[in-house]
């Protein structure tokens, strides 16, 4: 009996952990390539959710079908953010960099509230709905599909970074910016690409969870702190690390909430951040 409950808890931890991983890979990619921590990353997820919502509300396009569109849209948002704001603070003091992306976070929340009201919205009838029962273990189909999608997108990103010319150039920029520039790689272009891909990943995560998660302007705040923990645990800049760390953080969050109390689950995850920072600051797979 208790074993069933434990398996149930672990499965839901795994499912949410894969979503955390997808949010975090974009964040870690941006940090790896240009040493900037993007506080507005949760807002890219929020925009992805709204993109799904409006595609559904205005054109009756299901969130799952709208995913490619969401990705394109958020890619554009990421590139625009880079070109208008981030490009100007590349050499600024760290404090300015923190506050620039922090300002972006508040700006995007404010704009969402201004145009779309602070109400919680839901997408009522998605293609994917209902529950799956595997023996004693039950989980929602939307959650399952979202987790599957997260694995697919993260896998595709990994393939892109390791198996294509453009992706390798991006990796090279992350490893050594100056050497990459000497090899003829256009740094500015790579930075813009990192922001586009990073935002698209967060947007896809938003589109995937839009089928079962309430949509509202401040929804990103639920994810950004957890995404930080995942990035730190995985090692700044490591996509594979973020993927593994996402699963670990999801499991710890759900398991900790189950054992200690759901009201403490965020505190448990944040304590993990402190422990990792103090014991192994470079994370699981980070650069030394």
């Amino acid at each position: 009996m208790t074993a069933d409950i434990l398996i149930q808890v672990l499965v839901s931890g795994l499912l949410i952990g894969l979503i955390y991983a997808l949010v975090a890979v974009g964040l870690t990619l941006i940090f790896g390539v240009m040493d900037i921590v993007n506080f507005a990353h949760g807002e890219f997820l929020m925009l992805g959710m709204y993109a799904s919502f409006w595609a559904f509300a205005l054109f009756a396009i299901d969130p799952i079908v709208a995913l490619p569109l969401t990705a394109l849209l958020l890619f554009a948002v990421g590139v625009i953010v880079y070109q208008t704001v981030i490009r100007r603070i590349l050499k600024a003091p760290m404090l300015s960099q923190i506050f620039a992306t922090f300002g972006l976070m508040i700006l995007l929340r404010g704009l969402a509230q201004f145009f779309w009201k602070p109400d919680h919205r839901l997408i009522p009838h998605s293609l994917v709905s209902g529950n799956i029962a595997l023996g004693p273990v039950q989980f929602g189909l939307p959650q399952f599909v979202a987790a599957l999608g997260a694995v697919g997108v993260t896998g595709a990103l990994w393939m892109f970074l390791h198996r294509t010319r453009l992706g390798t150039a991006l990796e090279a920029t992350a490893i050594d910016r100056e050497a990459a520039t000497l090899m003829g790689i256009d740094g500015q272009k790579m930075f813009a690409l990192a922001w586009g891909i990073g935002a698209a990943c967060a947007g896809l995560a938003g589109g995937l969870i839009a089928t079962f998660f309430p949509i509202f302007p401040e929804v990103g705040s639920n994810f950004i702190l957890i995404a930080f923990v995942v990035v730190v645990l995985g090692g700044f800049g490591s996509v594979t690390g973020a993927f593994l760390a996402g699963i670990i953080v999801g499991l710890i969050e759900v398991l900790g909430g189950f054992l200690i109390g759901p009201e403490y689950k965020t505190a448990i995850v944040l304590s993990l951040l402190l422990v990792v920072l103090l014991v192994r600051p470079r994370g699981l797979l980070g650069k030394a």
């Binding site: 704001v85 760290m94 300002g103 944040l270 920072l277």
Partner: protein, 342 residues
Amino acid sequence: MTTGTNSSRKMAGTAALLALAAVLPLAITEPSQQNFLILILMGAQMGVAWNIVGGYAGQVSLGHAVFYGIGAYSSTMLLTTLGLTPWIGALAGGLLAAVFALAMGWPCFRLKGHYFAMATIAVAEIMQILVTNSDALEGAVGLYLPMDRSGWGSLIFLSKLPYYYVILGLLVLTVLVSWAIERSHIGYYFRAIKDEPEAARALGVSLTRYKLIALSVSAFLTAMGGSFYAQKEMFIDPGSVFATTISIKIALIAILGGVGRLMGPVLGAVILITIEEYSRTLFGSTGSGTDMIIYAAMIILVAVFSPSGVLGLLGDLHRHWGRHLPGAKPDEVKTSTKEARP
């Protein structure tokens, strides 16, 4: 760094500013406007306190709400349960916050830059969750101060004027501490830690020790600001004193005015609180998001165009125009492009 006439001119300017601040509420008698002035002084006090660790020592804390909250909860609990006067309660809260800062800084100061900033956010968020779930501290319900016990002993007043002078006094104290540090050898060590940590270490300066001094002094003063908040609002809950938005606002006030400059945060508070309050009254606060948009646009503009804050911008202008004036010494204004580097 500065000539004698320049520093005496600065002293005269500060005295004039203080005299103006002392008589201002006699001219502005409308309670809501007096409240606005109090909010500016509160913001300035927090910013000057943050500046000691975030500006001079260059250790960017984004978790100062933890000290603010400790101050607010300490003095309030001591008043409501033991009937202890907030005059002592605020000191107790300050000491508790300073001890907490030592405990938190000891491990966290091994981290640099972004990592330290993130660790401070995590500490404050964890604290907010713990207090929210603590029955002894009334959890999410919050604490009320006894309104019926007004007077100077309980530091509870039914009019705004006494609050104004209390926070003005606290601001003056905070500026004096900050000024004393800036001028002492500790201040030189702080700047050395910020600008050339390796060189400072090579010369035998204990980095951790001086970072801990900066954080605990800053925590002490921030906690006193938190106690004042509780006295003025007569109600506190975890969301109003421990939230990360407060930590961010504290740091923002300093960076907006000019990080690492004595009066930078005061200017920052005047600008930030004015814009915050006016955009709120002009556009309404009820969820339209307009105040957030203006606030955010301002943050981004300062971050992108003026990393050394408004004071830095004024300094640059002064230097630029000063060159064209007869007898001007361009060296009088120190540039600050390196001020906020990690």
